[in-house]
Amino acid sequence: MDDGRQSKLKARILSSAWSGPLQERICRESVAVLSVTTAALILMSDDEAGALVVASDDGAAAVEDLQFSLGEGPCLAAFEDGAPVFEADLMAADGRWPGFTSAALDAGVRAVFALPLQLGAIRLGVFYLNRRDPGMLSPDQLADAFVLAEMATVALLGGQDGAASGELGAELEGAWTHRAIVHQATGMISARLGVPLDQALLRLRSLSANGRSLYDVARDVVDGRLKVDR
């Protein structure tokens, strides 16, 4: 790896040339140097519920929602395995995420890359990139992507700095809050059907399969508009 290139990249992000929080700067710089359409930082809990912390554009939220709704996709795979996922052309994909792939293609995404945000054995989330055009990252871009993911991990931890013990940092809490309803609905279904939480989440996902987002379905469950029966 060219150390000069790497340190210039770091210096550019850390310099004040770009305004806004570090996390946003990392996403914007990623779009520029990696020639991707979208870059996003996603926080993930052990049950693989993601929460979008920041993204370079609005499109990332939909893709992230999609993966959580379907329970499959590159971000979940990268988080689960603790290893990067590079899918240079979804059109030629091997079919490991059929639901995600067809929905992503419908949304105009051709290439997806996901790098785990981790420190030692602790996994915190995923650095997600996608592109409208197919194609792999160049060797230089690949090296840059790892540097950016490393910086993203530090930026994510910055959001937790100063938080009270057992609580999320304010900014991360804000990103996470809209996920809360899915967990509430999961708890309700678990209690109603007498099944474990992971099965309850699967049930919730199956209900959202007909084109409705997991959040809308979860809202219906919590508000009592949708009764889930055996």
């Binding site: 926080l43 602790i122 991990t153 931890l157 057992g166 999320l168 809360a180 708890g187 279904i189 109603r192």
Partner: protein, 237 residues
């Protein structure tokens, strides 16, 4: 091994703090030992400031050096302490005729030390501690040895800073992961209670919080017991 080869090996060792089994005490003992091997000194020791800013003797190449350094910390007097306080090198080539630190002088001479040099371990404005070099004969270190000792103190400082930053980041990462998983389990427990007791989410949360407070338990623990079925909903009425 030539001195140059030995030196470069030492620098590589000192820079490598990112290894998974890194141990600060081992690192400092290694540094003290290398100083005695590489420099014209008879003993070496390292003092580092702890989180509260108090100086602690963490590694010494000999028991005499360790006791002398401990004495300095307790008596709040001596070259190593002065070096840490000022962040500048302190050199005393003739302890016997110096009246800078009378109590230190007595102890040092008893221990057989005649000359001392203390180099600050620092990064920019932050003084982390001091590298202390003792000689049983009078006189200063050769110029080359002084440069090497400063380089060693410098590279060790960088190593320590990196290790500290990494440790702090790990603590933060651990907290973030715990907090996030706590939040998930609390929301799930709210859902379980809301369903079982036919109440809304805010009422369910209030029950959880009240139970945790009354039983002096953490909210996330109570939530975990609710979703695991260990704590029946009826107990939260």
């Amino acid at each position: 091994m030539t001195r140059e080869a030995e030196l470069s090996r030492t620098f590589v060792e000192m820079a490598d703090t990112l290894v998974s089994d890194f141990d600060v005490i081992d690192f400092l003992h290694n540094l003290a030992g290398r100083c005695v091997e590489l420099l014209d000194v008879d003993a070496a020791g390292l003092m580092l400031a702890d989180q509260g800013g108090n100086l602690r003797v963490l590694a010494s190449s000999s028991e005499q050096a360790r006791l002398l350094e401990l004495f300095e910390v307790q008596a709040e007097e001596g070259p190593c302490l002065e070096c840490f306080r000022t962040g500048a090198p302190v050199i005393e080539e003739r302890i016997e005729t110096s009246d800078r630190w009378p109590r230190f002088r007595e102890r040092a001479l008893d221990a057989g030390f005649r000359a001392v040099q203390a180099e600050p371990m620092r990064l920019r404005d932050q003084v982390l501690g001091a590298l202390n070099l003792f000689r049983t004969k009078e006189g200063g270190l050769p110029a080359e040895d002084i440069s090497i000792s400063r380089a060693l103190a410098g590279v060790a400082s960088i190593g320590l800073i990196q290790e500290r930053a990494l440790r702090e980041a790990r603590v933060l990462a651990d907290q973030l992961q715990t907090a996030l998983n706590n939040r998930v389990i609390i929301e799930q427990a709210k859902g379980v209670l809301a369903e079982r007791m036919a109440m809304d989410m805010s009422a369910a949360f209030e029950r959880l919080r009240r139970y945790a407070r009354n039983h002096n338990r953490r909210l996330a623990q109570v939530a975990r017991d609710v979703v695991d079925g260990v704590l029946p909903s009826s107990h939260l009425r």
